[in-house]
Structure formats: structure tokens, C-alpha cells
Symmetry: C2
């Protein structure tokens, strides 16, 4: 894999009439031409949050307001705001502005903003256009691609939502310079995930370059984003609505969602919970005889190197995990479905872990 | 067209992998086998309202509870309950029951229940199965078929929703015996609509048989339902998400929705507002030179014969209409789109009525 410094690069998510491009380049935010080809009409609603707005909102609006009807909604920041009430604020603003079916929503922010705006677009007048402009590494490599939208419910993460594809994903890699370290690490959790589930060579590359990635080497980050998006695009194109193989993208997420929900959304970042969850999945795969001790040690090392937590929260016993995991969307009837690893670079979907073994594994897993 | 007394009859809505059958017969509610082929798994949530539950809920549940996990949600009755808050009650019940992606929602009731349950199914865990069991004439001939789901917003009808197709539509014509007269008439508005937009021979048939239909002749009602569903299925199959021709199903609805929203949902029944709205559309089509006086007189006669209102509410001036009509989902940018009639049996979609002419038409239209 070679990096092409500073050049804009693009991928296509191949979904028939719902196909769309992902553009990756520094400075996309400042170029009004990057957005224009994907607008459905003259009405544009940019939705962002209080953290991102001061950094990027005016830059994105520049050059659009001359001839378009551009409005904005600025929501509070944080996973705890990912609720139906926030989406209702977007709908209220659209209706107050008299926006019709030809309007376009623009999600400017991280995964929370992207998921909520996508869901708002999916259901406004039964579906309008939207564009993802992700500003965190996590949303750039994961949530902005693939059309999963939605909000949390007190009983579970992303329980209310829709599959609704954006018209385009515009990734301005310049936004990563302002990202807090903790969020950079959280994004790297999803990057590592792609290596673990499907691309052992990418995992090798990440091991070799983790230091430079944490130092925000622009070309290496750009390369990691492109490679991650390419893997996600392949998986999504093969299984848009998660009837089967797409579930592999949930490596670490069943454990991770349980942690997030139990701790209260926002205490752990999503990527942090996924980091610990991936190590849990690797260790359970080892117990089932699929990975070697050396494999698990590699997983632990790269998760630690990325600055991610490895232990589960001290406050969560096995029951706390199991109660949340039973509500996971992947489950069919009463069986808990997990994404595990047959090998490093090869995920599998498994719903035959004996309940007693799963409980004993959860009892024994390290807590911090 | 001949009626086949008391035999179950079926149609198919042809939407590729989203195709589904419509079954029409007396007694379907009492036959658990009518529902079973369309269940996604063992978890079944029946949603109905306080009016319908005492009449049909136990009959529908009979024979299902032995081997399935059957739960219920009973909502208040009425168009004013068609809100996001009601849909949240359904989601809360699904999550409290621990229902997963393989659950099936069953909408037992009229159009309000069907629209809300369809929307709840569209967004629960990003989409689960649902079955329509419509118990009013209006929902049997219109809202249960075609996958339009959603709720009202204080600023407009059906502003929040999704296209989400049911697995099956089960129409028990026996439910019409308990339907209030006013609701029978409201349902006939949509039946008349099918004749007006697409089937002049059906319009002739309706004129000849309106008396017997109001007297609830079972075979004639069954015939009217089948013919209506067949027309709707054809239109929907050609344009599932209303990019074009499907909008013709909105004859009378732009004026009608404005009446409903202005009066407060539930004061006028939807079918009543559509009845007046269709006469308004016919009279505007006459002004544009497309229909004859005799055509308009026929429309007025059959609307009156069905027991539907012809005048607009006295409290609504032209501004009150226009303000609501500007928010109609059919509009593109700033133009009001109307469904009008080129001839009886032939609808057209028109957004070139000069604003001054539309205002003058609204000023002059009879009020009561």
C-alpha cells in the first residue's frame, strides 16, 4: 500500500441506484464545489453541534449562501444527545423553514451528528437527500459510510433508526488536526477492526505505523481512512441491510454496546468500548480454540498501542453484560450472536457459544 | 365486473423482493392460518386501539398464543393520536418485551393504526416485519396498501414517516358490519377516487351501485375493495416511492390535507376532507378547461350520494388553504403541485396553475 501525498482520492460505494462516492482530501470543507453536485435542490439544512460549529460551520457555508437557501441547526454535543428529541428539533426546523422533499440535509460533525441527521433525512417527508461531512476519525472510517442511521433508546443503542444512504461522503482530513487525542484513539479502534475482520496485511501495516498515526501523519491517516472505507464499502455493497455478512463489522460491538449502555452513553467513547470489546472477542475466540495465544497478544498490543482501554468496567458483572447483550439487534430469537475471529484478518458470526461458557468467560475477564 | 360471493380473493402488489399479497374475505380475522405464513419469527406484537380492541383483538389472538410470544399495545383512538409519542409507546413496548429484529408487528385497526404501526416497524432496529389487518373501509382500500407509513406533525399531515411495505394485507370484510356510517362514507371517498383518477368504467359501476354499497351489500363492498386495491397496487408497483405517477393517488388530498390540518386532525375524517377536496380538484380542472360542466356535476352527485361533504369549512379563507398547501410533500421548490383531472378516469399532475388563479378559485369556492 502506498500513500499519495495530499491528492484527493475517491471511492465508490456500489449499491445500484443508491451508489455514492466517498471523497477524501484536505480542504474539502472550504470548497463549495465539493458539496454542490450532491444537492437535491435549493434548500440546504446544515446540522452540526456546539463543538464543531465554531470550527467549521462558516467555512462550509462559504460560497453556498449566494444562491441557495441555507439554514442551520446547532445541537449540543455528545452521545447523550443522540435521542429522538434531538431528531425532532431537526424536523421542527425543517418544517419551520417550509423545506420540501427536494431539500438536502448536511451532517457536519462526528458519528452522533451523522447518525441523527441520516435518520432525520430518512423520515422527513418519508425520505430526503443527505450528505455526510464527518469531522472525527471514527465517523470518517465508519459511521458516515453505509447508511446505518438512528438514535439511542434508554434500553439500547441505535434501537430506533433506518437504513438510509447519503448522496456523498466528504472527508476533509484537515479536520483531524483539531481532534482531541482521546477521539483519535477511539477512531483508530474502528480502523484496527477492519484489519482484524478482513485484512491481515492492513493489520501488519497498522502495527508498523501506529506511532506515526498517533502523531497525526497526514498521509498515513489519509491512507488508513481510504483503506478502512474501501473495506467497509465492500462489506456494505455485499449486504446493505445486514442480512448476513455485514454483521462482521460489529466485531467488538456486542460487548462494546453493553459497556456503553451500562455506563451511560458518553462516559466511554464508542471507539473505546469497541477497543475493549474487540479484545474480549479475541479472548473468547481463543477460548473456543480459534486463535493462538500469540494472536491474542497481538490484538492486546495494538489496542494498547492505540491508547484504547483493554479491561471491562469494574462495575459490570456478567449479568450486566448478558442483560444488555440479549437486546442486541444481531440476535435471532433467544440466542446471543457474536462476531468472533477465526484468524487475524478473518471474522465469523457465531451464535453457538454455550451460555455457561459465555457467563464464565465474562466472570473471568479482567476489570479495571 | 362480477362479484364472486363469499369466496376469498387475492391480489399481489408487485414490488420485486418486497412483493406481498392482499387477501380479501369475510372471517380472515378468526383464522390463525391467515396470519401465520407472514410472521418473521415467534415474537408478535399486535397494536390496536381502544375502539377496535374489544371487537377484534381476542378473535385475532385466538390460536396464535399457543406457540408464539404474542404481546399487545392498545392505543387511544383517533387521528389526534397519530403522533410520534404514540409510536414511541410501541417502541417502548417492543423493547420492554425484549423483541428483536425477527419480530412481527400486526396493525389491527384503521388508517391511523396502520400508518403508525408501519412507521414503528420501519424504524424499530432499522426495520422489522409488519402485517396490515385493516378494519375500516378507508384503510382497506387505501392506507394499508402501498407502504406509506408515518405520523402527523403540528405543522403538517404525515410529515414524518417512511416507505415500508407490509408482508401481507389481510382484509376481513366482516369488519365493515361494525363500521359507523360516517366512516363508511369516508372510505367510499377513496373508492370514488380510484374511478376518477384511472377507471371510468369503475366510476360508472359506483354510480350504479352507491345505494347498495351504503346499505353494506357484502358482495358489492368486497368487489369495490378488490377493484380499488387492484388499481392502487398497479400505481404503487409502477412508482413505489412517489417519484412521479404515484402522486395521482393524491387526488383531492392537497385541498383535503389543508382542511384536516386547519380544522385540527380528527374534526373532519380524512375521507370527508378528500371528498370535498376531490370536488375542488374537479372544479379547478373545469376552470382550466379540462372537464365539462356535466363532468363536474357527476363528481358532485357521486360525492353527495356517498354522504360526503362538498363545501369547504367556513372558517378557512384562501390564505388558510395556501399556507397549508405550500407545505405539501408533492411540491418542488416553491410551486404548489396539484392532482387534477384531464377527464373523468384520467388524473394529471399539475404545478402550473397561476397563483392568482388558484387564490381566486379558493376565494370563490363554496363554504359551509
Amino acid at each position: 500500500m502506498t500513500a499519495t501525498p495530499s491528492s484527493p482520492r475517491s471511492l465508490n460505494v456500489d449499491l445500484g441506484e443508491r451508489s455514492y462516492p466517498i471523497h477524501v482530501a484536505p480542504g474539502l470543507l472550504d470548497d463549495p464545489q465539493s458539496l454542490r453536485p450532491y444537492l437535491a435542490g435549493r434548500q440546504v439544512m446544515i446540522v452540526t453541534n456546539e463543538t464543531v460549529a465554531p470550527l467549521y460551520l462558516e467555512r462550509l457555508k462559504g460560497g453556498l449562501e449566494d444562491d441557495l437557501d441555507v439554514r442551520e441547526v446547532i445541537l449540543p454535543d455528545g452521545e447523550h444527545t443522540k435521542t429522538l428529541a434531538s431528531v425532532e428539533r431537526i424536523w421542527d426546523a425543517l418544517l419551520a423553514a417550509g423545506f420540501n422533499r427536494r431539500c438536502t440535509l448536511v451532517a457536519l460533525g462526528g458519528g452522533v451528528i451523522g447518525d441523527m441527521v441520516g435518520y432525520a433525512a430518512a423520515c422527513y417527508q418519508r425520505g430526503v437527500a443527505f450528505i455526510q461531512v464527518p469531522t472525527t476519525l471514527l465517523s470518517q472510517v465508519d459511521s458516515s459510510v453505509g447508511g446505518k442511521t438512528g438514535v439511542n433508546h434508554p434500553r439500547g443503542k441505535n434501537m430506533i433508526g433506518a437504513f438510509w444512504q447519503p448522496r456523498a461522503v466528504l472527508i476533509d482530513t484537515g479536520t483531524l488536526t483539531s481532534l482531541p487525542d482521546r477521539e483519535l484513539s477511539a477512531g483508530l479502534a474502528e480502523v484496527i477492526k477492519y484489519g482484524l475482520i478482513r485484512d491481515a496485511a492492513f493489520l501488519d501495516w497498522l502495527e508498523a505505523n501506529m506511532g506515526e498515526l498517533l502523531d497525526r501523519d497526514a498521509d498515513l491517516l489519509s491512507e488508513a481512512i481510504l483503506r478502512s472505507c474501501a473495506i467497509k464499502a465492500e462489506v456494505v455493497a455485499a449486504d446493505e441491510t445486514e442480512q448476513g455478512a455485514r454483521a462482521m463489522l460489529n466485531l467488538g460491538h456486542t460487548f462494546g454496546h453493553a459497556i456503553e449502555a451500562h455506563q451511560g452513553y458518553g462516559k466511554w467513547l464508542h471507539g473505546e468500548a469497541v477497543g475493549a470489546g474487540m479484545l474480549m472477542a479475541a479472548m473468547l475466540s481463543r477460548q473456543l480454540g480459534w486463535l493462538s495465544e500469540a494472536d491474542v497478544a497481538r490484538v492486546a498490543r495494538i489496542i494498547a498501542a492505540a491508547g484504547l482501554p483493554m479491561a471491562a468496567p469494574a462495575s459490570m458483572d456478567a449479568d450486566a453484560f448478558l442483560e444488555r447483550m440479549r437486546l442486541d439487534k444481531k440476535n435471532i430469537d433467544d440466542r446471543i450472536r457474536l462476531v468472533l475471529l477465526n484468524a487475524l484478518g478473518e471474522a465469523c458470526i457465531h451464535d453457538e457459544t454455550p451460555p455457561a461458557q459465555l457467563r464464565s468467560f465474562l466472570d473471568d475477564y479482567p476489570r479495571a
